[in-house]
Point group: C2
Chain length 320, copies 2
Amino acid sequence: MEFRLIDRIRERTAQQREDVRLGIGDDAALLAVPAGQELAVAIDTMVEGVHFPAGTAPADIGWKALAVNLSDLAAMGATPAWALLALTLLRPDAAFVDGFAEGFAQLAGQYRLALVGGDTTRGALTLSVAVHGFVPPGQALTRAGAQVGDAVLVTGTLGDAAAGLRCLPSRMDIQATARDFLVNRLNRPTPRVAAGLALRGRASACIDVSDGLLADLGHVCTASGVGAEIDAALLPCSPALLGAFDEAAVRDFALTGGDDYELCFTVPAARMDEVRDDLAKLGCGATRIGRIVAGEGVRVRGADGAWLEPARSGWDHFAP
Amino acid sequence: MEFRLIDRIRERTAQQREDVRLGIGDDAALLAVPAGQELAVAIDTMVEGVHFPAGTAPADIGWKALAVNLSDLAAMGATPAWALLALTLLRPDAAFVDGFAEGFAQLAGQYRLALVGGDTTRGALTLSVAVHGFVPPGQALTRAGAQVGDAVLVTGTLGDAAAGLRCLPSRMDIQATARDFLVNRLNRPTPRVAAGLALRGRASACIDVSDGLLADLGHVCTASGVGAEIDAALLPCSPALLGAFDEAAVRDFALTGGDDYELCFTVPAARMDEVRDDLAKLGCGATRIGRIVAGEGVRVRGADGAWLEPARSGWDHFAP
């Protein structure tokens, strides 16, 4: 069965890459990493009912399964190259597979990313994608380099995906255009690959916002041995989000909502304007939201200048 | 959560490898493929109730999840190096994770294989492992090179794992030592990595027996544009299997039972004895079971010289 379902996906995701010496169809793929490049690899899983609601369009699932992985490569400053797909389905469902493949291929095609291996099995709907990218030695963006005094920035806008999830089942009085925007941000996140490449050699630390800003910036602080101070008033939020929810909800979504897949990064203050200008040219832009300080953990200052105590710090599937 | 569970596994699977520039704990791992080597990559998923029975010991699951993937590298003649793990669990279960990690680490340690990334999510018990290995350019074993006149061989013995699965829930009158042997072959398959390396530059085609001999040799025939003739009387079977089941059941297990993870390969007839001698020194041995012929498909000759018509050709999770 592996062949028939994976073949349907392969047909829709065909990419000619000279570095793929042998693709899908044997016991393993054979790949050639370009000379002088390191390999960046990551794996992420999405489970129906946990990472996306039952009823999500197959094409959206295909897009997102790849997007969340490309976001990991973006956060490292790596150039995407290859992916492996493990697809577990309750039953062989050609319509699902074709839709999935269509969404996957739409995003893969933007990066000439080749699907080089896969496995399909029977079980509750679960998708694991492993991605591979290239980065020159020593130039990868890690979580560990933030320095006291660095500016903290994020690309794009925060909180949209969490708000989109809230919109899905509800009959809230939200304008259709705003709801569509927010739900699209949830279902079709844009991995910030070009931004990650532009940050090579400039950002001192970088992470993608998958679990929520506070949680993910907290990982940067832990890895770097520093603390961070964020100004809630500086958080970049979309007009759709601002128009659809009240101020407290917007702040909660922006601070703790997962699934935005924006990049949160730190740069020396002297380079901040130059980096902002370059990311603006890439379309996503970047906004300064705070700074790195001595100490540990992330603190958030409200509009009145007082420190906030957020109710939760991001979502954590297996948190106690 | 990702961190806590994956950390428990990482602690138990620590391997120092200079080619791991950055391991678990950032958005992606950073890896260095040795100069002059190609990368072999594969991914395989195991689902509870499909690939292993509910109640299987966590350590056996950990071993097997890695073993089935190492078997893919073995079938390519690749040297194992790194793995990624996607672990989906109904609930955070430290005892399960510790047992799983123990079994995984027992096998990983034999190859100095490093776990370089992972994701843990909530859902029905499902495990995907992606493995990475090295092979010199042009030396990988594929399914596509079998030539008319080549001998067909298999390592080890066939049918044990399928028989072991049959033993599990039953109260059949099988000697405890035989049952233990067969169940161990099911739960703790030995990937034939050393055999795969020994076959580099000698086998004309190679595959691992995961779906059953007929199905897997059929893949070799299709990829190579040839047919194969097998003698049922030549199939290598363990004393435990022969002692526990009648002749017809033994033949069925050996021809169509999955999960053996032996290598089935083809060699020019003139090199067969040399290859057999070398694999005998590696402990697994290899047995000639037939030959490659013009045409297509796999035919099996019974002990009386007549062609058999097997009832099924291996298991296929999503077969119609």
